[in-house]
Amino acid sequence: MLIHKNYHLTIYAPKYCTNIVKYALLSAAIFLASGCASLGVEPWERDLLAKDEMALTSSPIDSALDDHIYFSKEASSGGKSFGGGGCGCN
């Protein structure tokens, strides 16, 4: 006989953990956003940030290729950018 799921472990527990992770991340984002007025640099202090390699997506081609591989092989996509359609692989 097939045991479909261990409901206690597989469904409820992750949901509970899921909520904790969600709220923790949201709180961190809100906390950082509210304290951001005091963060940052003056325009003449952007020497390092202005470098190409300090861009958040410093190699768009690598990102595009990686997104395509992981979209095809895993059940998650997007997050950094849109994870929409465009491929019949999943």
Binding site: M1, K73, S76, G88
Partner: protein, 445 residues
């Protein structure tokens, strides 16, 4: 022979610039006039197209191999308007797990087209070796300042495979504040995909019909095959909304946070995937086509930070994704860029991924049990961990162009989410690992 004028070397950038401009119907007069003259360099500089090209090979041991080529062109106009055009071509070939469980005997499966069959040896994971596809994709993106501190962007996407068409549009609005140290952005995207798989779309949980050949009269078998199909094509739509927040922390550090909400509706099955229907001893009696819900609601939170040390730059990101299929995942991605000289660097890369199984994931079905509403044995929606370990080397050439090489190892370890393996199934590997090598060359000019 000696009198024959030597051909000038082909200037790839010049050729591509003219091609890209011709596509837009905006060949600058200077470029036309300056072609093959000494002024061409200046004209090209004025037209300011930057190109980036890449060739990637992806190869799984005993399974799928793919080659993907990208050519990306970007032009910055006056007033900071940016046009980006991207062409992607990829070729896929090899074998892919068809969802059926390994068995202590040889198994025979019908090819998706119904014409012919393939066999899987004892104790081996069944792989459908008919995969062969070529995809061509085109993207165009226009970005421009809309007002002080506001930047808008809009783009289109089209990709075509032999059996798949995808059309997409997107738009994004970004607002800078706090001396451009903070940015809020909101983006929307919509995709409309049409799937026309070889052999048509099978009915949910229909038994895999016997193969038919072309040499003898197979009208009965053909009729059986057709009876297992409901239609030739189906479609799906994907609507995404994303909110982003970017913050400069200090001279060395920048952070980004995104929240994404994605709604997918329509045909979400994989028409090539089946489940083994086993008896109480774990021996497959039949193979039935999978059935997934016709909608999926995905959400994700993403955080990324980059920090510039004295020389090195570290890039770390984390993504948490969850959906209404009760599947969730954690992804950690990290890169460390280490300069070797003024012209070159190496960049080690580590990625860890972990996902739980979709609620309806089942490695096999049991004959005596009632058929569930939804079921799929596709390991890609089962419980899994995956690791990527890679290294990139980049260098600036004497002409100022950039060349880089990337080599990565990717491993997927599907795991048991608590499904009891019956009889013979406890003797076989139901969760076989997948190993892949990724190799890439990138050239910017």
């Amino acid at each position: 022979m000696q009198l024959k004028k030597k051909k000038p070397p082909v200037n790839l950038k010049a050729a591509l610039t003219i091609a890209a401009s011709a596509l837009l119907g905006t060949i600058p007069k200077t470029v036309v006039a300056a072609e093959n003259t000494t002024k061409s360099k200046k004209a090209l500089k004025d037209s300011s197209w930057d190109f980036e090209s890449a060739l990637l090979f992806y190869s799984e041991s005993d399974r799928v191999s793919a080659a993907e080529a990208i050519l990306n062109g970007q032009k910055t106009f006056e007033n900071d308007e940016v046009l980006n055009l991207k062409l992607t071509v990829d070729v896929l070939t090899g074998a892919s797990a068809n969802g059926a469980a390994a068995q202590p005997n040889v198994q025979t499966f019908t090819r998706p087209s119904g014409k012919g069959s393939y066999q899987t040896q004892v104790n081996e994971t069944p792989l459908d070796d008919t995969f062969k596809d070529t995809r061509v994709q085109f993207n165009a993106q226009w970005t421009q300042p809309l007002a002080e501190n506001y930047t808008g962007s809009a783009g289109v996407h089209i990709s075509k495979e032999y059996d798949y068409l995808s059309l997409g549009i997107n738009g994004n609005l970004a607002y800078d504040f706090n001396q451009k140290n903070s940015t809020f952005s909101v983006g929307l995207s919509y995709f409309q995909d049409t799937f026309e798989p070889e052999g048509g779309i099978p009915l949910a949980f229909a038994s895999m019909p016997a193969a038919f050949g072309s040499t003898i009269d197979n009208s009965d078998k053909k009729a059986d095959f057709n009876a297992s199909r409901r239609t030739d094509s189906d479609d799906k739509s994907t609507a995404d909304i994303m909110f982003g927040f970017t913050q400069v922390i200090n001279r060395r550090m920048i952070m980004q946070f995104n929240y994404s909400y994605s709604k997918v509706d329509g045909y979400l099955n994989d028409p090539f995937k089946v489940l083994s229907l086993v008896d109480s001893t774990g021996i497959a009696q039949d193979y039935v086509y999978e059935n997934r819900p016709d909608s999926r609601l995905k959400q994700s939170l993403y955080a990324q930070t980059k920090y510039h040390f004295e020389q090195n730059i570290i890039d770390v990101s984390y993504r948490y994704m969850w959906d209404d299929w009760e599947l969730d995942s954690h992804t950690i991605d990290s890169k460390l860029r280490v300069p070797l000289s003024r012209q070159s660097y190496i960049e080690p890369h580590f990625r860890f991924y972990k996902q739980s199984a979709a609620q309806f994931y089942q490695p096999f079905l049991v004959e005596l049990n009632t058929l569930p509403e939804f079921a799929s044995a596709d390991y890609r929606i089962g419980e899994m961990r995956a690791y990527t370990l890679g290294i990139k080397y980049g260098t600036t050439l004497s002409d100022g162009n950039n060349l880089s090489f990337r080599l990565e190892y990717y491993r997927q370890d599907p795991t048991d989410a608590g499904h009891k393996a019956l009889g013979a199934l406890s003797e076989v590997d139901l969760y076989e690992s997948v190993n892949a090598i990724i190799a890439q060359v990138t050239y910017s000019f």
